[in-house]
Symmetry: C2
Subunit: 147 residues, 2 copies
């Protein structure tokens, strides 16, 4: 009945389980800030560039417009962003980060460093750096948000 | 406004996103078999050892008893397992894999190999093996199911 290589040794299974763990830690750490993991890609995109339309955000993050609207509403309640009119096209609404949004993103970023340190505590620094680099390559290859 | 190292470059974020991708691919591939990703840890545990009680399964997988009961009910409907009485303690109910369960696990395992090949297609074999090894170490360090 033995299977040559157990399913739990596959990269797919390992990524799924470690991803769950990372998301759980991230969600726990973000909760006191009023943030959820899914908000962070939005904050990151808005911090990196100029004000963006909802459609641009939805395309970049890879979610539907209605999900983006929901996330923007939640972030606006936190005072993390504001909606402004596009000066070149008055019908178009853009979203930009507020100083509060920048502060929240900075805290979330610091939190990910803390979680990384905990997750990778048992690896020597060279292997941890190698892992980080390889995961970044995979994210690029599969066109994940921010990569 | 630039943040030194974007949050999306953290290992936590990368694991979360790649984990979502792996889970999605796994769920899509399992659906025609009537299985869900969470069933696979149960099938794997039952295939690896002797019949187990619900409590043992719950402890090994790291979920509550009620979640295990739900999963066992779903797997029993698929004909993947049967519940038997412990011959040394008649009050105790054990669960064991049926031949159908073994077949389903074999198919799920083959599926994870296919997903791994797709996920890792852009990495050279040495780096893919290194990644697999390092993720296995992390799974052990954080006591994930099957590790």
């Amino acid at each position: 009945m033995a299977l040559e290589e157990p399913l739990t040794d596959s990269v797919a299974f390992l990524l799924a389980k470690l991803g769950q763990l990372a998301t759980l830690r991230f969600a726990e750490g973000l909760a006191p800030l009023g943030l959820r993991p899914r908000h962070c890609a939005v904050l990151g995109l808005l911090a990196a560039g100029p004000a963006m339309s909802q459609l641009e955000l939805a395309n970049r993050i890879g979610v539907t417009s209605s999900v983006v609207v929901e996330m923007l509403d939640e972030l606006q309640v936190l005072g993390a962003l504001r909606r402004i009119r596009d000066t070149t096209d008055r019908r178009r609404q853009l979203t930009e980060l507020t100083p509060r949004g920048t502060t929240l993103l900075r805290r979330a970023t610091r939190l990910t460093r803390k979680i990384d340190a905990e997750l990778l505590a048992q690896l020597d620094p060279g292997r941890a750096a190698e892992l980080s680099f390889t995961l970044g390559e995979l994210a690029k290859a599969h066109e994940l948000p921010g990569h």
